[in-house]
């Protein structure tokens, strides 16, 4: 199999397989609902996809030539950013699929869930690889459509529906703005191919407007403050596996889409990166303050995603403005580590939500008081949750410390006073964030378990396994951060090419 074929399969397999998963799952559901065939099928597809991605990725990494596959006039390109996003999406997606088996075992519509989850994973891989402005939008829209349905999966709960409505409306509005921007770019350059646009896009008011519309349009999905208002609702109401996906990779995929679009306009102005840095500052502060007094666990984690998006923007923005490779690599490293840590945090919170509430047929949200003394009954889950939130708080020896460090180092290396000030501000925010992460850990290790913990159901094995795998990843990357260099380095170079080369 050639690398190009493998790449095409890696992009196409999950997308093509999702209707099959639905159909077979549907039939199996009628025949014997116990087997839950859709889940295993989805897992199989994702593992196979990992194999194809491995072939394509290793070809790219060994030859340093981007893979380019053309389908008609539209092409897909595997560069550093695409590979990084694909690996993050696929790895987290596979674990979430494993986790979701028990988590939604009792809901109806499981085959819908797994089919759409697989499709969403596939569309995100495609989104990372899109090399055509309009095609980028199509992938983006497909991803969004899948996620609307998944967010409102608990269709009999008013809050989930409300979150779904808000998510849908705000996302759709963002989509429209992106389309307008595409229209402007198309008018001005006469092309949709990102490479051709890169050459043709010259400074003009029209293109500035297009860039602004891209930032706002894609910014809705990547949760730039103040476009973030849908996020705490959707992330807290979605099934926990989907929360992990949304927070861990979907908002980052939105960012990648934005970077691709803005990168094509890099000749228009150097201010794109500076704007991202501005959003970085606001995101960090607002996210942390909003989380500080939050009492619902999943909502708290959702707000913390805002501040982590701020760190990522800091790295990526400094890479775009100054061309600092360490910054960019740090930003992408943080995308990876955040996917792991936030994924783990949501899965752990989801596991507790499942055992303490859902398994007892109660639909209340998980509040911080429910965590009291959870380590008594769920030692591994409590440990995993602690690893996740302490990592998010940037404490060593966990992965979050190292990725933040890389972002900070890159910022200082630019020698730019504004960026250095922003790094110090980010450090302050990191300290502030401990004000809400640390008490969560405290609660988990209280001696006197909350009443609800004592009535909790046992933890399903598959959930524990996924959490252990992710915890190991967070710890290992914390001890040996350069393990991710092979992935973040090429991604950073791709970003610098986008904005400078």
């Amino acid at each position: 199999m050639t690398a190009n074929t493998a790449f095409l399969l890696a992009v196409g397999l999950p997308v093509a397989a999702s209707p099959v998963i639905y159909l077979i799952g549907r039939i199996a559901e009628r025949k014997n609902p116990k087997i839950d065939l859709a889940r295993w099928l989805a897992l199989l597809i994702l593992l196979a996809d990992g194999y194809f991605l491995f072939i394509a990725g290793s070809e790219f990494l060994t030859t340093h030539h981007e893979l380019l596959v053309s389908i008609g006039a539209v092409s897909l390109r595997l560069d550093g950013i695409a590979l990084l996003l694909a690996i993050a999406v696929l790895a987290l997606g596979t674990l979430v699929t494993m986790f979701s088996g028990p988590a939604i075992a009792r809901d109806s519509g499981r085959e819908t869930y797994f089919a759409l989850l697989t499709a969403m994973i596939g569309t995100m891989i495609g989104l990372g690889a899109a090399d055509d402005l309009f095609n980028l939008w199509v992938w983006f829209e497909c991803m969004a459509l899948c996620s609307y349905v998944l967010v409102a999966f608990h269709r009999n709960e008013a809050a989930a529906l409300e979150a779904g409505v808000k998510y849908l409306v705000q996302s759709a509005l963002g989509t429209v703005l992106v389309l307008l921007a595409i229209g402007l770019v198309f008018t001005n350059t006469g092309s949709l191919d990102l490479d051709e646009i890169r050459v043709a896009a010259q400074p003009s008011g029209l293109m500035l407007a297009a860039g602004a519309l891209f930032i706002i349009g894609f910014g809705v999905k990547s949760a730039l403050v103040p476009l973030h208002t849908w996020l705490p609702d959707a992330h807290s109401q979605a099934p926990s596996g989907i929360s992990a996906m949304l927070s861990g990779v979907v908002i980052e995929a939105g960012l990648v889409a934005m970077l691709r679009a803005l990168g094509a306009l890099h000749l228009v102005t150097v201010s794109w990166g500076a704007l991202l840095l501005g959003f970085a500052a606001v995101n960090m502060l607002v996210g942390n303050l909003m989380a500080l007094r939050q009492t619902q666990v999943k909502r708290l984690l959702a707000y913390s995603s805002l501040s982590h998006m701020g760190y990522i923007l800091l790295g990526v923005g400094a890479g775009a403005v100054i061309g600092s490779e360490y910054s960019a690599a740090g930003g992408f490293f943080h995308i990876l580590t955040h996917a792991m840590m936030k994924g783990l945090a949501f899965l752990a919170a989801g596991a507790l939500l499942y055992c303490l509430h859902q398994a007892n047929d109660n639909h209340n949200p998980l509040v911080v008081d429910d965590l009291n003394g959870a380590s008594r009954k769920y030692p591994l889950t409590a440990f995993a949750f602690s690893v996740a939130v302490l990592g998010l708080g940037g404490l060593p020896p966990l992965a979050g410390f190292m990725s933040k460090w890389q972002i900070f180092v890159g910022g200082f290396q630019t020698g730019n006073a504004w960026i250095i000030a922003l790094v110090v501000f980010a450090g302050l925010n990191s300290v502030l964030s401990l004000g809400y992460y640390a008490p969560l850990v405290n609660r988990l290790y209280r001696r006197q378990p909350a009443e609800i913990v004592e009535q909790g159901k046992p933890m399903p094995v598959l959930m524990t396994v996924t959490m252990v795998i992710l915890s190991l990843g967070v710890v290992v990357l914390g001890f040996w951060p350069s393990l991710a260099d092979w992935l973040t380095g090429p991604a950073a170079q791709s970003l610098l090419m986008l904005f400078g080369g």
Partner: protein, 586 residues
């Protein structure tokens, strides 16, 4: 050989932490055993490492990129502190066998204690500033986890968070220092910058110097960050002895001493360091005089004694600072563990309820008095020699004499509160119905070596000065024999003055009833001091400010779709306006 010993000293406690956690809380005896075994083994490894104390990098793990090389080097400063951390660490663990006997969740307790010991060793042995910062943060994490060990107690939780946030806030200074170093030199190597500070531009060096001062002050609970240490006393007492008296709080002093050759040329840095040390010593001593909680008195005295060390570093007396660090680690660990034995026995920390406990706890009284005398600085205990050396360093050319005067006054105050504490706890009439019993066997095993150490560690002065002198060329520490050092102290006029001041402090305590008038006159000071000179109010204001602004900001999440869309339009307007004003139309 030395490479292996370094890895063992860091790795054994961490391995032990894993085992203790994995052993499970159903097997407390196994956990006690594992913890003692691993901490003792680490202590032995650290002691064996001392002869290898040289200035040379022994372990290099090439991580590359933004992370530099992870390097470790056993120089004099490093091996000495590693030995202190592991030896006192293992004594604290042994003490815990009795102290924590009836406690729950021992796995978490021992895992964090051992995790701390390993991290502390790593902190002092590494020569990579990134790694140093990482270990720095791990010690903060473990300190936090252990302060909040009694998670159901709101005070313990609050104290833990406070310590974590304040030390992390100061830690930003070290972060800035490390980033400045890497941005300018492309490496995190500490030895290079110490040997040749000129490789950094003057401005960058100043940022690094004052950043490290902030970090050191926060870690060592110095002015203006001192408020976290008294609240950290909610931790189990062996933890207070180990982390909040003998080791972690020394990391700040270590940092300043380590970088002294690099920073001493930065204008104003030495003066700032001395001022920080002096203010901390003075304020904390005054607070200790009025405090009524036994552990808090010890905490204040720790801040005060650390102030002496910081002052000494600023004054250029690196050897004096490190020597006092050694003495203080030993006698303060002794005092804390002694206090732990008392608290474990009577179940309260309030000195007003104690009194006359000496009759039932003769052993604890004996060792506690030894420690207190060392704290007061009476000859011939170890605290005497090292404190005199610090005062002498204050006399060095160019140091402001008024600061030295303040430090002399503080030594009088120290004597005063040391005697007050001993008296209130062990002597006089019992003030409450307390059933005291003497220390358990494991406690005695831990206390005895510390008491002996308090009586004898000053004999190490000569070899200690040789160790530092040989392995730290940039610090320019002269090697002297023990005899020379002792003679120097004894013949110095300042020693006599200091002894007079200490005696004055003693007399004041003895004649306290006659000084009732003075006491009344000082009521205002007492009120200010028990309110921590307003620092607590500042802390509270900051916390309240953050929480209020958070609460206000939360109302922006209206949950109304229309407003959500409005924010989007506003953001669009904002971005367009920025582009219009910032970039302009081409």
């Amino acid at each position: 050989m030395a490479e292996l010993l370094i890895l063992l000293t860091i790795g054994l406690p961490w391995l032990g932490a894993l085992f203790c956690w994995a052993a499970g809380d159903r097997h407390p005896r196994l956990q006690h055993g594992l913890a003692v075994a691993f901490s003792l083994a680490a202590g032995i490894a650290a002691l064996l490492l001392i002869p290898f104390g040289k200035d040379q990098v022994l372990i290099t793990l090439s991580v590359g990129g933004a992370f530099g090389n992870f390097t470790f080097s056993p120089d004099g400063l490093g091996v000495f502190l590693a030995a202190v951390a592991t030896v006192i660490g293992s004594l604290a663990v042994i003490f815990s066998v009795d102290y924590m006997r009836s406690e729950d969740q021992l796995g978490r307790y021992y895992a964090f204690v051992l995790f701390f010991i390993g991290a502390m060793v790593g902190l002092v042995l590494t020569t990579n500033l990134l790694l140093m910062f990482a270990f720095w943060e791990i010690t903060a994490l473990t300190s936090y986890a252990l302060i909040s060990f009694h998670n159901d107690d709101l005070k313990a939780v609050a104290g833990g968070i406070k310590a974590l946030i304040i030390t992390q806030f100061g830690g930003l200074g070290l972060l800035i220092g490390a980033l400045v170093l890497f941005a300018n030199t492309g490496s995190y190597d500490i030895l290079t910058i110490i040997a040749n500070p000129g490789i950094l531009p003057a401005g960058a060096l100043a940022w690094m110097a004052f950043g490290c001062l902030a970090a050191g002050a926060a870690k060592s609970a110095q002015f203006p960050f001192q408020t976290w240490l008294p609240d950290a006393m909610e931790a189990p007492t062996p933890v207070s002895a180990l982390i909040h008296a003998a080791t972690m709080v020394n990391a700040g002093v270590y940092l300043l001493a380590r970088f002294f050759p690099a920073f001493e040329g930065v204008p104003g840095w030495r003066e700032a360091v001395m001022a920080v040390g002096m203010l901390s010593a003075l304020l904390a001593a005054v607070m200790a005089i009025f405090a009524t909680d036994l552990k808090r008195v010890l905490a204040y005295s720790t801040v005060s004694q650390l102030g002496y060390m910081v002052y000494a570093v600023g004054a250029g007396g690196i050897f004096a600072a490190q020597f006092h660090l050694l003495s203080h680690s030993v006698f303060k660990a002794l005092l804390f563990l002694g206090a732990g034995a008392v608290i474990h026995s009577v179940g309260t920390r309030d000195m007003r309820q104690m009194g006359g406990l000496g009759k039932n706890m003769p052993f604890v009284r004996l060792v506690f008095v030894i420690g207190a005398l060392a704290l007061a600085g009476l000859p011939v205990l170890n605290g005497f020699w090292s404190k005199e050396l610090i005062l002498e360093a204050g006399l060095a050319h160019g140091n402001p004499l008024w600061m030295l005067f303040v430090m002399l006054v503080v030594s009088g105050l120290t004597a005063f509160y040391s005697f007050r504490m001993v008296w209130l706890v062990f002597y006089g009439q019992p003030r409450a119905e307390l059933h005291a019993h003497d220390a358990g066997p494991a406690m005695k095993v831990a206390l005895a070596p510390l008491a002996i150490g308090t009586l004898t560690t000053w004999l190490l002065a000569g070899s200690f000065s040789r160790l530092l002198s040989e392995s730290l060329p940039a610090h320019q520490i002269a090697a002297h024999s023990t005899g020379e050092i002792l003679l120097e102290v004894l013949t110095a006029p300042i020693t006599l003055i200091a002894l007079l001041v200490i005696a004055l402090g003693l007399v004041c305590w003895w004649q306290r009833d006659r000084l009732a008038g003075v006491k009344r006159a000082l009521t205002g000071l007492q009120i200010t001091a028990t309110n921590s000179f307003g620092f607590e109010a500042v802390n509270r204001a900051v916390v309240l400010g953050a929480q209020n602004s958070a609460e206000k900001l939360r109302s922006t999440q209206t949950g109304v779709l229309g407003w959500n869309v409005a924010y989007l339009v506003i953001a669009l307007i904002g971005v367009l306006a920025i582009l219009l004003l910032g970039v302009g139309l081409p």
